[in-house]
Each structure stands twice: as structure tokens, then as C-alpha cells.
Subunit: 309 residues, 2 copies
């Protein structure tokens, strides 16, 4: 069983409009709703790969209820969300049919009370006992302490559960100092953490700050990983066309899946890059194209740059 | 008791963002939700004026549940909505804090089944028995026959209940032919109905098509009314600055309120223009500023243009 934590879950809503023009009125031609938030997306991909996954974090209000109903309908996913008084946020992705681009509107998330945060910590501790790995994903809703991920990393490590952290800003900075097994920043998050825009230098610096392994996602250039066992680059076979929504979450799922299956780093990275690329190629935002994924597994290029970092 | 019908109710959501830029991501700083759809807005204004109002139409799904909970919390408003399987639509108003303008995204509304439409017709017939006036407001959700308003107008008239129709397009065209007591088109709706962009000519033509009285809302120029008793223009004291959202619904509420209080036409129009102007001036979209309303009542100019149309 893999555990994913999404403190700021979301009901992801996609609207299609003919052309988004600010300060005018639009008829939405199509509405799609699904459970969201990074850890929920990671769980969906893991379940599709055949893993058993438990989802925890917060859910509340009518939007939280819809999210939980949809999650219950996802095979392989166990709902261990903690109920809160506030309403789970919505995110609205407005897809422009003429140009294909997306405009994103993200609600801030509910206020979490100290009692709710305490209830989550108890639940998390219980859940950790039975899992092979845990992923801590996404932003913090209002009211959750900025050092939240640092304490969740420490609890996991105290029980010997491998922990992957995928967040940004101050929660990432504090979380890294608690020595997570893996972080997976993108280029912007890495630059914000380290002050360096040079990926290799920044990745090495992030390790010095506490992360055992750093897997930097560099968009079309794939992944750069610096780990205790060595350093790798994993790249997709060609420049990809499609929608990058969820590609980062699919990469996290690939890393966790490979970890749970005890694969060596090169194979974990291959899985992560193939899933990420198959997500960009999918016609549904955030889903991965299974046929593309299986083809890509043989076509991802992995080069070990030296044997000991 | 006044009855308002809103077949395509909505959960109106207002988002504030710093500046809306297509194809980028936005943090929403503030989220406000409230019951919406034209007839629901009319009911809220009527209730604020001290009338007892019953709201009917359709509500369903989690959004419908939120709408009904909020409606129950509105003093003076009785919820007689008919439950449906589909989910009540959302409308999203994105307010740009830098320029003050609003971008509107409107979901299409749930599919109404023939059985649900039948259940509504039964409920409407029961409700008509006890009311002093009825307003039929807004668009039709998918599945409702385009001649819906024509049959609702005929049922009201058969029972001697005065009926106001506020819609557009083909539902308006068919509804007018069923001889409603009042229609309240804006300039665009009137032009679409009659083919004429000249307000007086178009208003007279709309009467010939079947409406007993036509009250055309001409934005900052106020109202032009052509009725069996005469013809009037009612204008606010000065060009208004503010948000016109809901100004038309407030005008409908003013007309109904004056009708229910057995006021002569000139006074109904004064009430409608003052409410409409006080809505434009309000800081909350769709609400009216009560102090402004009371001041405006003395300052609306009404001129009867001749005594028999």
C-alpha cells in the first residue's frame, strides 16, 4: 500500500468555451469535474498502474462530498481523507477551443482549524504503520503550519517509511531540512529553493540542504536525478506536443511505483519519464495514454553521468 | 404572495482576481456564492421590499443543494423548487481588481426529463392558486420545450393571475403570443423579437404580437412602457456609475411589487427605475442599496407621453 497526502485537495472543473475574451460573457459548452490536488492525481495514476493506494488529507463541504463520491468510484484507491468544516476548494480550467490554451482559476482552500490539523496528524500516524512509501504533495491550505511537511517527513522517517516531497516555496524549504528520501521540484521550484537557475548546480545544492535524492523535472528535457547511488538524466524520445497538466504528478507516480517495486534508479526514472510523456500526449488533461506509456518505456534514454554523487 | 419561476436556477459564484490574463494561472483571492437565476434574484429583491415570495423552478445535484440551503436562509422567501436528477448549473463571475470589469462563465444547466417537466407543471398549477402575481424569468434548461413559457402564461391567465415574462429569443417569441400581462425586454431582446432597433416602434410592435404591456429597459435611459392605459418614460436622475449586474431583475421586482400593491403605472415604473438604479450603485453585485433606493424614489422622472396607446 502506498500513501499519498493532499492537504489542499480540490474539485478540478474543466470548462470548454469557444474563445475566452476578458470582460465578456461566455457559454460553457462542456463541464467535466474530477477529484484533484497533486496527491490525488498521483494516487489515480498509481491505481491505474495496479498499485493499492490510500489517499489522505482534508475534504469538506459540498465540494468535498463530490470529491469523496468520485474517489470512492476509483478502483484501487482507498479514501482516508479527514473531514473538515470548511469547503474543499475548486479549480477551474477554462479551455479555449479556438487556440487550445487553458486559463486557470484556483480557489484558496478552506481554513483548517488547529483541532482539524491535530485530527489529521493522528490519522497520518495510524496510516503510516501499514504503507511501503508516502508522497506529500502540493500546497498547504490556510491554517496549516508552514512547517507541516517537515513534521510529516520526520514521522515517516522515524518509522522507516520512504517519503517523497513534492511542494514549493517555504513548505519545501522547511520540508527539505527534515531530510526526505526524495524531492521532485521543477526548474522554478528548484531555483526558488536554491537561488540557482543552473539545474545541476541547483540539484546538488538541494541535496546539501537535506534531500537524500533530488529528481528535478525539466519539462521537455525530462528528469535530472542526483541520488546517493549516482546521477542520471532521463529524457523522452522526442519533443512532445500536448497538454502538460498533470505531467509532474505522473512523474511522481512513476518514481513511487518504481520505489514500491524495488526497481533500480534508472528504471524508476524511465517509468517516471514515460508516464509523464504519456500524460502530455493524452487527450484528457491529467490522464495518461496507456498505449503511449508502454511504447515509451522502451524509448526513454537514461544516461548515468557518474557512479557516486 | 408573489410567485417567481426560474427554470434554469444557478449557483452564482463570484471570484476576485488581481488581473485576468488568458492562458495563465490565477489565485482567486475571494469566493462568494449565492442562489441565482433571474427569478431567484427577483424574489430576493421582492423579499427585501417586504413581500412574501415563493420561488419555483428546478434544483438538483450538490449545487442545487447549496442553492436551496442558502434560499432557506433568506427571510420572506419560500422554497418550492422541484428536485431534478441533473445538477443545477454554476455561473462564475471573475472580477478583475485592476480594471474592475467582470468576465462571465455560464454553465449550460441540467438536462430536464419529460417526467421532471411534468412534475413542475403540476407544482406550478398548485402554486398559482394562491398567488397575486407570477413572474416567469430567464433561459430554459436543456429538455424543457421551447414553448414552455407560452403554456405557463396561458395557465396563469386562465386563473386570472397577472403574469410577467422576462426571457429572450424563441421562448420570448412564443411566450408573447400567449398574451402575457407584461414583458420586460431590454433593447437587444426587443430588437431580436421585432426586428426593429427603434425602441418606441419595437415596443409598439411587441404589443401587437400579444403582450398587454411592454416595459422596455433601455439601460441608462431608464424604462419605456407602452400599456393599455398609456405610454410612459421613466428615467433615473443622472447617468449611473457602478455594476449593472441584476439591474434588470431589480426592475422586474419593482414592477411586480407595484402591481401587487395596486399602484398606478407611473408609480410602478418609478419603483422599477429606482430599484434598478440602486442596484447599479450597490457595492455588492445584484444587491440594491436601500438608502439610494429611498432617495431615488423622489428623483425618478416619469412622463406620460399620451393617454391611450
Amino acid at each position: 500500500m502506498i500513501l499519498t497526502v493532499t492537504l489542499n485537495t480540490a474539485l478540478d472543473i474543466t470548462y470548454r468555451v469557444r474563445s475566452l475574451r476578458p470582460h465578456t460573457s461566455h457559454r460553457v459548452s462542456d463541464v467535466v469535474e474530477r477529484p484533484g490536488g497533486k496527491g490525488v492525481n498521483v494516487a489515480r495514476v498509481l491505481a491505474a498502474l495496479g498499485h493499492e493506494v490510500t489517499v489522505t488529507g482534508f475534504a469538506g463541504g459540498p465540494t468535498g462530498q463530490v470529491l469523496r463520491e468520485r474517489l470512492t468510484g476509483t478502483p484501487g484507491v482507498v479514501d482516508a481523507l479527514v473531514p473538515v468544516h470548511g469547503a474543499t476548494r475548486r479549480t477551474i480550467a477554462v479551455v479555449d477551443e479556438l487556440c487550445g490554451d487553458t486559463t486557470q482559476l484556483n480557489e484558496p482552500g478552506p481554513q483548517i482549524t488547529p483541532a482539524e490539523w491535530g485530527a489529521f496528524l493522528d490519522r497520518y500516524q495510524e496510516l503510516l504503520a501499514g504503507v511501503s512509501a508516502v508522497a506529500l504533495c502540493g500546497s498547504l491550505p490556510p491554517g496549516v503550519p508552514v512547517g507541516a511537511y517537515a513534521s510529516l517527513v520526520r514521522s515517516a522517517r522515524a518509522l522507516g517509511v520512504p517519503v517523497l516531497l513534492d511542494t514549493s516555496g517555504e513548505p519545501l524549504r522547511r520540508g527539505v531540512a527534515a531530510r526526505p528520501d526524495v524531492i521532485k521540484p521543477n526548474a522554478d521550484e528548484l531555483a526558488e529553493l536554491t537561488g540557482s537557475h543552473e539545474p545541476l548546480r541547483a540539484t546538488q545544492d538541494a541535496r546539501r540542504r537535506g534531500a537524500h535524492a533530488v529528481v528535478a523535472s525539466l519539462g521537455a528535457e525530462g528528469l535530472l536525478a542526483v541520488t546517493p547511488e549516482g546521477r542520471w538524466r532521463a529524457t523522452p524520445p522526442a519533443r512532445l506536443h500536448g497538454n502538460p497538466t498533470g505531467a509532474g504528478d505522473s512523474a511522481v507516480a512513476g518514481l513511487l511505483s518504481g520505489l514500491a517495486d524495488h526497481l533500480p534508479w534508472a528504471d524508476r526514472l524511465t517509468r517516471a519519464v514515460a508516464l509523464s510523456a504519456a500524460t502530455v500526449r493524452s487527450t484528457t488533461a491529467g490522464d495518461f495514454d496507456r498505449t503511449a506509456y508502454e511504447e515509451l518505456l522502451d524509448r526513454v534514454a537514461v544516461s548515468g553521468e557518474f557512479s557516486a554523487a
